[in-house]
């Protein structure tokens, strides 16, 4: 018993054991975003920008006013290094902080890096216990360093919250909800292609191009950096398409919304349609996807046949004063459904041209195979461009807002 007591006392010291790896919170530099650009010298590989939180500004320091957001809440340091952790190592010697990636929210790849392939970065992210699997990746049309330096989280005190709000906004369908884990899983997959959100500095001040489409403002697809903006800040919009780990093309905001609808990631957003009796008056609805699309893939023949059923619900939020659309709900629903179907078909033919199954029909095709080898032998990605896709859209207007008008 005496020995047990001694052993118990000795053992209680082990409770202090964790202290050997402890770091004081104020000695850590919390990296919130990482930007990766190509280095000037090829052998140096990357210019890596680490954007870290400035806790003094966030907490308010000694002032009684509380924390402040904006540019002061973050700081950037750019170093040349062959990998993310090498950059952290260099940065630890430049800034008087020990950098940790445990709170990293975004990794920004420059277009040039994304085109060359990002497999080595993926390898680091998959292996690291620091970087969380729900970190966001984005491809930047401008340099990643410029992008991060333009970030101005005016609306948030906490910079990680700023990125969370930007990338995880469920009420906007204009960016894909792809996290690092999703990209990591499917970057080398034989069943689907991957996409990442597009981002850019908003430098371009221009005007929209108009199209004939009756869907979404009749506007051509816009990508990040193309939305007219007086301020030079950042924009995240559209998506970059990858073949394996290489960036091969891009799509705009409206195509991304279609992508989200087809993958079931779409939640809700305000969408504008045009009704043929009043072709110049936009009708805006709160569009929601309460039921995931039903996808079946027939792989019995050489040409895969895909059946795609999309279910969309809508509530009127604004209508035309010219007529009581409430009295023509079936006609409006049919027309809106047809508009959406046309957009979906156009989107799918673009993916076929790009030879990129970004919707992931291959994942459904897998169901028809008994084991992995028979699926791999089918060579889904090679067959996708020639597949037949039958699209059906079930568009239902459920509610009309607080007003139900009668015919004039």
């Amino acid at each position: 018993m005496k020995y047990l007591k001694i052993a118990f006392i000795l053992l209680s010291f082990s409770l202090l054991f964790g202290c050997s790896d402890a770091e004081e919170p104020d000695s850590l530099g919390y990296v919130v975003a990482i930007g990766i650009d190509k280095a000037e010298k090829e052998e140096a590989k990357y210019d890596i920008t680490l954007q870290f939180a400035n806790p003094v500004t966030i907490s308010g320091g000694a002032s009684q006013e509380g924390g402040k957001g904006g540019k002061d809440s973050i700081k950037n340091i750019t170093v040349t290094a062959p990998s993310i952790y090498s950059a952290v190592n260099v940065a630890n010697h430049v800034v008087s902080k020990v950098f940790t990636l445990a709170h990293t929210k975004v990794v920004v790849f420059s277009e040039e890096i994304a085109k060359a392939g990002i497999e080595d970065i993926l390898e680091t992210i998959g292996r690291s216990s620091d970087i969380r699997p729900n970190t966001y990746f984005t491809v930047c049309k401008s340099s990643a360093k410029d992008f991060l330096e333009s970030v101005n989280p005016e609306t948030e005190v906490n910079p990680t919250r700023y990125y969370t709000m930007l990338f995880e906004n469920e009420f906007s369908g204009f960016i894909p909800q792809t996290k690092s884990q999703d990209f990591y899983f499917f970057a080398n997959s034989g069943e689907k292609n991957t996409v990442l959100p597009l981002s850019s500095k908003a430098e371009k001040v221009g005007t929209y191009n108009f199209s004939d489409s009756g869907y979404q403002y009749k506007l051509e697809d816009a990508q990040a950096g193309e939305i007219p903006s007086e301020k030079t800040e950042i924009q995240v919009m559209g998506m970059a398409i990858f073949d394996m780990d290489k960036y091969i093309g891009e799509m705009g905001d409206i195509e991304t919304e279609i992508y989200n609808l087809l993958t079931g990631q779409y939640k809700s957003s305000y969408v504008t349609y045009y009704f043929s009796p009043t072709p110049d008056d936009p009708i805006t609805v709160l569009q929601q996807q309460n039921k995931r699309p039903k996808i079946t893939v027939d792989t019995s023949g050489d040409i895969p046949k895909i059946s795609l059923n999309v279910y969309v619900e809508a509530d009127f939020t604004s209508s035309t004063p010219e007529m009581a659309v409430e009295q023509h709900l079936d006609e409006f629903s049919n027309e809106a459904g047809e508009d959406l179907k046309r957009e979906i078909e156009s989107f799918l033919s673009k993916t076929k041209e790009m030879k990129a199954d970004i919707v992931g029909f291959g994942s459904y095709a897998k169901r028809n195979f008994i084991d992995q080898k028979t699926f791999e032998d089918y060579k889904w990605k090679e067959k996708y461009p020639s597949c037949q896709i039958d699209v059906n859209v079930d568009f239902q207007v459920r509610r009309t807002g607080l007003v139900v008008r009668s015919e004039k």
Partner: protein, 365 residues
Amino acid sequence: MNTKIRLNQRQLTLLMSNLLITKMTFSFPRYLFKTSGNAAWIQAIYMSLLAYIILRLSLAFFKYVGNKSILGLSESLGKKPLKMAVSLIVAFIIVIHTTTEMRTFLESVKIILLPKTKIEYILIFFGATVAIGALCGFNSLSTINALFFPFCLFFIGSLVLFLIPTYNINNIFPLFGTGVKNIFATGILDMHCFSDLLALNLLYPYIGDIKTIKNSGTKAVLISGASLTLICLAYGLTYPYPYSTEFLLIPYQLSRMVKAGEYFQRFEALFEFVWTLTHLLYSAIYVYILCLVFQNAFKLRSAKSLIPCIVALLSLISFIPSSVVELLDASNILKRFMAPFALFLPIIIPLIYTLKQKKKGDNPR
């Protein structure tokens, strides 16, 4: 050594569940995914059924041989030489399982929790805790285990539930993963994860009550089989093939994926707590059982003083592999090699004993 072990049915069930689940859910699923791909959950069900059959077969001889363990039976069959041989095999099996689990745990702790601490320090504290646990005695260990282990099961259940938003049914297709042959033929080699059933046989003499042993053994196989199947299914639904075969610690990967609202995302802290306690109890229980084996083999009056030496020996053996890769490969080969002994000795020895006694015309008991 105090061999007056008193375990009630609940304690024995949870103790056996710990021995089976610790390895099965924390480090073993990786091997299942390597064998069957994302059909690992089918292999888990298949292996659990086989383990149940093996257990029932070993329990079938109970009415002929009473509550004698294979060590006692081997002495009756072949005197001291056979008893020594069987004891050595049993000790070797326990050493292989304990040391590989110990080293895998310590290396994982270093990777996940204490990257800057020397592994020797982690080992010293782990070893000291295990030794003190074993010195406290089997009754204390089983009582603490009975208190803690339901929490471990609760953790596994909540993990599976919290991950529902991440599940993608397409990930478990093609249904038979890497192939039917791999699941049902090559998969038999993975039966070593049920080798811990041997511990139940070694505890026979200390339980006595056949009903307790039968019920506890059956329940432990069901609980561990269900846990393994659930973890494999959750992981297979979350991680697509071939990436599902890459990760070292599957429950850790799963706990990192939990996102229950904006503020509850670091589920791995709970994982680390459960994982550490489960391993401490697992190792302490096996150190004690190993002492019982030595005590029985060498007819020692007390084996308590062996505990620190055994812990030191296990620690040293666990550090033979030079790297994690070597450890994983070597342990898998050794465990596969020893699995037939662990699973079939509790059937073969009682069978031979029963046949011999019947031949003599004696009542086997």
